[in-house]
Amino acid sequence: MQEVLRFRPLEAEAVAREDFAEEARQFRRSPDMPSRGLSLTIRGLRKSFGDNEVLRGIDLHIPAGQSVAIVGRSGCGKSTLLRLIAGLEKPTAGSIGFGEQARAEDIRVMFQEPRLLPWARVLSNVEVGLGRERSSADAQARAEKALVEVGLGDKRGQWPSVLSGGQKQRVALARALVSQPRVLAFDEPLGALDALTRISMQRLLERVWRDQGFTAILVTHDVSEAVALADRVLVIENGRIAHDFNVDIARPRERGSAELAALEGAILKNLLEGTEDTSDDL
C-alpha cells in the first residue's frame, strides 16, 4: 500500500501536461478527473511449470488507468504473466499487488475465445459478468447498459450461436465491462477476428477504456495493435521484460501514421534482434 501511494503523484505529473491540442485533451484523463483504475505493482515475479521456468523475475509498476500492451514471441511468457495478474495462476515466487484492496469484480479478463455460454441468451451471458452482484435488483438494467455500450443493444434476446465472431467478442467485452472493473486484462482478444473487424474492435476497446478509465493490460502478438492502443509497450523475452517503450502519441491515433509506423518499426526491430540468439522456434 505504501509503495503504491508513492507512485501516485508521479503518475499525476506525467499526465498533467498543458500542451495538448484541444482534441487530444478529451482522450486523456486530466489529473482533476482521477482514474477509476487500480495501479499494479509486481515484484520479483517468477513462475515455473515443472522444470520449465516461464517467468524469470518480473518487476513492473503500472500506474492507475494506464493502458499497457505486452508483446513478445509465442512462448515468451506474456500470457502467463496475464494469467498471474488475473489470479488464474499462483506465482512460484514474487508478488503482485494492487493499489487498493481489489474486489473479485474489480479484475476482469477477456480471452481470445469469447467463452459465452451457448445455452444462455446474450443478455444473461452479460449478467454472468456481474459476479456476486448478479442477484441485485438492477442486474438486468446494468447488463442492458453494457450491451448498448458495445453496440449490441438489439441482440439481447439472441442465442450466441447466431452471432458473428466479432459480435460474440463484443458480448464478451460487455460481460467483462458490466461489473465496472478497475483492471481489465486482455489475452489476444482480437486474435481470432478478421482484419476489418479487428480495426473496429480496436476502436471500441479504445473508446471503452477512455470512457471507463480502467487499467488495461493487453497481451498481443500484433505490434501495430499494441502501439495503436497502448500508452506503453512492454517487450517480453525469455521470461523477462526486455524493453519498456512509452507510446507518447496523441489520441485519437491515426492508423498508418508515420509516428506509429516508426515506433512499430523500432519495437519490431528489438523483438527480432532479441530472437537472434534463440532462433530455435521461429
Binding site: 488475473a86 488464474l88 473479485a104 469484480e105 476482469r108 479478463v109 480471452f111 475465445e113 467463452r115 455460454l117 451457448p118 445455452w119 444462455a120 454472468v128 459478468g129 459476479g131 456476486r132 442465442w159 450466441p160 450461436s161 447466431v162 460481460r175
Partner: protein, 268 residues
C-alpha cells in the same frame, strides 16, 4: 428491372400441410402392401394375418379391457423401472463426473458389471424375486442404468474447460457452476443416453415379460402363442413399435424444449 429479376423463379412444389404426414407414408404403404398380399393369398393367413384381422383382434381385446390392462401394466413397469435405473445412473454419472475420488472408487466396478449382458441375469433374477413385479423392475432398471450413467459421465467430462474457467473467474459458486455451466453443457449427451435407455427399457421389459410374467404385453403375446392366436402375436409386435415410437417422440420433444439454444434445434 434487371434480367435476373425478370426470369421466372423456380419454386419447390408446395405440398399442402403435408410435412407432418411424410414420415407416415412408408408405414402406410407397408400396411397396404401387406393387406394386398394377404387378400390375394400370396401370404397364407397362418403365417401372417391380414392387417384387418389384426385390427379386429385388437378391437376385441380392447372391448374386453384386456388390451388396456396389459398395456397399462407394461407401461407402469417400464416407467418405474426407468425412473429407478435412470435416477441411479444419473446420480453415479454426476458423482463420477464431478469427483475424481468417486470415479476411482466405482468406475472400474461399474464397467465390469456393464459388460455382463443384463438379460443373462434373468435366471438369477427369477430365483431371487420369482416372477414378481420386482423382478421386471430390477431388470429394466439395470438395463436403463448403463446408458444413462455412461452418457451423463461423458457429458460432464466433456464440458468445455474454458467455460468452467470462465465461470470460476466470474465468481460462480460450485452450485451455480453446476447449474449454469456443467449441467447444461452435459445435457445433449444426457439426452443421447436417455434415448438409448428408452430403447433398452422396452427390450428388457418385453423379454422379461415373455419369460416370466402373468400380465403385460409380453405375457399377452406368449399366451397368444400358446393358443395359436397369431393375430394377437402380430398385434403385440405392432404395439411395441408404436410404444417405442411414442417414447422416442417424447424424448425428442423434451430435447427440443431444453436444447433450443443448440444450433441443431434452431428454426431456419
Amino acid at each position: 428491372m434487371s434480367l435476373i429479376d425478370s426470369l421466372p423463379r423456380v419454386r419447390a412444389p408446395k405440398l399442402p400441410r403435408a410435412d407432418g404426414l411424410i414420415p407416415w407414408i412408408v408405414p402406410l404403404a407397408i400396411i397396404v402392401i401387406w393387406q394386398l398380399a394377404c387378400v390375394t393369398g400370396f401370404v397364407p393367413a397362418r403365417v401372417l394375418p391380414a392387417p384387418t384381422d389384426v385390427a379386429l383382434a385388437g378391437w376385441k381385446l380392447l372391448l374386453s379391457g384386456e388390451l388396456i390392462r396389459n398395456i397399462w401394466v407394461s407401461f407402469w413397469r417400464a416407467s418405474i423401472g426407468f425412473l429407478i435405473g435412470g435416477a441411479i445412473g444419473f446420480a453415479f454419472g454426476l458423482a463420477n463426473g464431478l469427483s475424481q475420488l468417486s470415479a476411482k472408487l466405482t468406475d472400474t466396478t461399474l464397467q465390469m458389471v456393464r459388460n455382463i449382458p443384463h438379460l443373462a441375469l434373468i435366471p438369477l433374477v427369477i430365483l431371487w424375486f420369482g416372477i414378481d413385479e420386482s423382478a421386471k423392475l430390477f431388470l429394466v432398471a439395470l438395463g436403463v442404468f448403463f446408458p444413462i450413467y455412461l452418457n451423463t459421465l461423458h457429458g460432464i467430462r466433456t464440458v468445455d474447460p474454458q467455460l468452467i474457467e470462465m465461470g470460476r473467474i466470474y465468481g460462480m459458486t460450485d452450485g451455480e457452476l453446476f447449474r449454469r455451466v456443467i449441467f447444461p453443457g452435459a445435457l445433449p449427451s444426457i439426452f443421447v443416453g436417455l434415448r438409448f435407455a428408452l430403447g433398452i427399457m422396452w427390450l428388457t421389459l418385453i423379454v422379461a415379460e415373455t419369460i416370466a410374467a402373468s400380465s403385460g404385453l409380453g405375457y399377452m403375446a406368449m399366451q397368444a402363442r400358446e393358443f395359436m392366436l397369431i393375430d394377437v402375436v402380430v398385434l403385440s409386435i405392432l404395439i411395441y413399435a408404436l410404444l417405442g415410437k411414442l417414447a422416442d417422440s417424447a424424448s425428442r420433444a423434451l430435447e427440443r424444449l431444453t436444447l433450443s439454444w443448440h444450433p441443431a434445434f434452431q428454426k431456419h
